[in-house]
Subunit: 335 residues, 2 copies
C-alpha cells in the first residue's frame, strides 16, 4: 500500500515537471514578434508583467483585466475611406432598382451618378441618410449574412485582399498576448456593432458579445411566424468620442485597464481608462507609413489624430509609430 | 535514450489516467441536487446532454451556448415587492433633507408620509419619477457602492436575510451546471443593469459584463479633474417584454439556446430563444409555494404569470413548479 502511494507521488511530481517543461517552451517564444524593440513594445510588456505579477503592487485580478480596442485604423485599415461607408455606397447601387425615389433624392442621386463631390458636400447628415437607408429594413440575421459575405469577398483597392484580411498583424499578436495573460479583449468602435460582429471572431478572435459599437434601433416582432429582430432606419446610439466610455459602462460595467485607439475620437475612452486607480495603459496608433500602409494624422478626413498627439506626453499616452514600431503590417505579408 | 522515451511515454499515459480519474469523480456527483426528479429536471439534463454531445444531431459549439435568465422572481425573490423599488423608496427617505421640494411634490410627499395608497395610485409614471430621482445625480461608481452596500445589509421582511442571499439555490446549481458544460450564463432583466451588477458575481457567479438590464442615460464628463460617468434622470432603455430580445441582440449579438423567466414579461425573450434553429429550451418558474416562499401568478401585482401559463403546452415551454420541483429554496436553508 505504501509503495502505491510512493509511486503515485512520484508520478504526480513528474507530471508537474512535464507541465512545467511544456509551459516553459511556450514562454520561451518571445511575445509580440512583429513589434520592433522600442518604447511602445517595452511599455506594453512592462504593463502586462506588472498587472499579472501576483503579490506585486500593481497586480490586477484576472476578472478586472479589461482591454478595449478601437477598430477602424486601430485593428483594421480605415484609409482611404471607412470600410462601412464603402459598404453603404455599394449597397445603394445594389438596392437602387427597389428605390425609384433615389433618382431624384440627394445624396442618393449624386452617389448613383458617381458625383462624389456632391455626396461629400452633403456632410454627416447626407452620410447618415445613406447609412440608415442601407443598414435597415431587414432582420438582424439577414444583415449579418450580407455584411459577412461582403467583408470576406470585397477587396481593398490598395492591398488587393478581402477587407477581413486587411488587419494589423502586430495587433493580432497583442490581442493574443493579452488573452494569454487572462485579459478579456473588447472592440469599442464608432463603427456599427452589427457591421463588425459577423467577422470579429474569425479576424481577431473576439466573439460578438465583446464587440461594442454604434447601433440602429431594432424592434422585436413575429415575421412570417418567426420571432425576429427588425433593423429600423433610426440611430439608437453613437459609440464615438464621449460615447465610448458610455458604451463601455453599458456593455462591460467595469473600467478598462488598457485602451488602444488611433484618433482624437478615442481620447475620451483613453482618458476614462487612465482615470481609474492603479496602473493603466493608453495607446494610439500613428499612421506614419505611406509605403507599407498610409501616412495621415492631423488633417486627415478619416481617423484625425491631432489633439491626442499634442497631449500624449503630458498624459503619458504611448504613440505607436507604425513605420518604426511595426516589423510587419498585415498577416498576408507573412505567407 | 530509448529508455528515457519509454519512461516519458509511461508517465504521460499515467498522467492521463490520473486526470481521467479526477474528472470522473467530479462527474459522479449528480447535477442539480436541489431539484426533485421530474419533468423539469429531466428536460434540463436532456437538453444539456444533447447540445454537448459531440457529433450528435443537436450538438451546439461551446461559443454558441448562450443561456439567459430573468432576475426578479427567477434568480432572486421579487415578492412582496421588487427589491429595486424598495431600495428607491428607502432612498427617498434618506435623500429627503436635500429635497425640500418633495414636501409638496407627489408621489414623494405621499411616500414620505407613508401613504402607500397614494403612491400606488400614481402608477407607473409615479414609480418612474421615484426611480429616476433616486438613481441619478451621482457617478456610476458612487451608485454601485451605494447599491452594493444596501443589498448586502438590508434584510428581506419575511426571510430575515440580506437581499443578496435571498436567491434560489436550485437556480445557482443550474447556473453552475450550465457553466460546467461551457455555457455562458447571462442575466436579462427588466430591473436596472446598475442595480444588479454590484452583486451578481458574488451571488450567482455572473460577472457584470454578462448582466443586461434597463438603464438611465449616462454622460461622460471630467468631474473634479477625474473622468467620470454621471447618471442622468432620464430613461435610456427599458429591457422588459419586447425589449428583452433587443437587449440580447445589442449586448450579446447571438440568439440564446436556453432562456429562463417567471412572468409574462419574459415571453418575448423565450419566444426569441425558441425561434432559432435546432434544439432550444424555454422555462418559467411558477411561484406555487406559499409556505417556503410565496404563491402568486395570474393576478399578481409583481411577476404576473398568466398568458405564459395558458400558452406553455402549445409552445413546449417548461413550467417549473417551485413547490414540487425544488427540494430547497434558499442557500441559507442548507447551512
Amino acid at each position: 500500500m505504501k509503495k502505491t502511494y510512493l509511486i503515485l507521488l512520484i508520478l504526480l511530481i513528474l507530471s508537474f515537471v512535464l507541465i512545467f517543461l511544456a509551459t516553459s517552451s511556450v514562454q520561451a517564444n518571445e511575445p509580440l514578434p512583429s513589434w520592433n524593440e522600442g518604447k511602445a513594445r517595452q511599455a506594453i510588456i512592462h504593463f502586462v508583467e506588472e498587472v499579472t505579477k501576483q503579490g506585486g503592487a500593481n497586480y490586477v485580478p484576472a476578472s478586472e483585466r479589461i482591454a478595449t480596442f478601437d477598430n477602424d485604423g486601430t485593428l483594421w485599415v480605415e484609409y482611404p475611406m471607412y470600410t462601412q461607408v464603402l459598404f453603404a455606397f455599394e449597397r445603394v447601387k445594389k438596392l437602387a432598382p427597389q428605390h425609384p425615389e433615389w433618382k431624384t433624392e440627394q445624396p442618393f442621386k449624386a452617389l448613383l451618378a458617381g458625383d462624389m463631390k456632391t455626396v461629400g458636400a452633403s456632410g454627416m447628415k447626407g452620410l447618415m441618410k445613406i447609412i440608415l437607408a442601407t443598414h435597415s429594413g431587414m432582420t438582424a440575421t439577414e444583415f449579418a449574412d450580407e455584411v459577412g459575405k461582403w467583408l470576406r469577398t470585397t477587396k481593398h483597392p490598395k492591398f488587393k485582399h478581402p477587407y477581413i484580411d486587411v488587419i494589423y498583424q502586430p495587433q493580432i499578436e497583442l490581442l493574443e498576448y493579452l488573452r494569454a495573460n487572462e485579459f478579456k479583449t473588447y472592440i469599442v468602435s464608432g463603427g456599427g456593432i452589427a457591421f463588425m460582429r459577423p467577422v470579429t471572431e474569425q479576424a481577431y478572435g473576439i466573439p460578438p458579445e465583446q464587440v461594442i459599437g454604434s447601433s440602429v434601433v431594432t424592434k422585436f416582432q413575429i415575421k412570417n411566424g418567426k420571432p425576429e429582430l427588425i433593423r429600423m432606419p433610426k440611430v439608437n446610439f453613437v459609440n464615438d468620442k464621449a460615447g465610448k466610455p458610455v458604451g463601455i459602462y453599458e456593455h462591460i460595467g467595469r473600467r478598462p485597464i488598457l485602451a488602444f485607439g488611433n484618433a482624437d475620437a478615442d481620447m475620451q475612452m483613453i482618458e476614462y481608462t487612465k482615470g481609474g486607480d492603479g496602473l493603466r495603459l493608453g495607446l494610439f496608433v500613428h499612421h506614419t507609413d505611406a509605403q507599407r500602409e498610409f501616412a495621415y494624422d492631423r488633417k486627415s478626413h478619416v481617423g484625425t489624430l491631432d489633439k491626442a498627439l499634442d497631449q500624449a506626453d503630458k498624459n503619458d499616452w504611448i504613440i505607436v509609430d507604425m513605420k518604426k514600431d511595426w516589423k510587419v503590417i498585415f498577416p498576408f505579408e507573412m505567407k
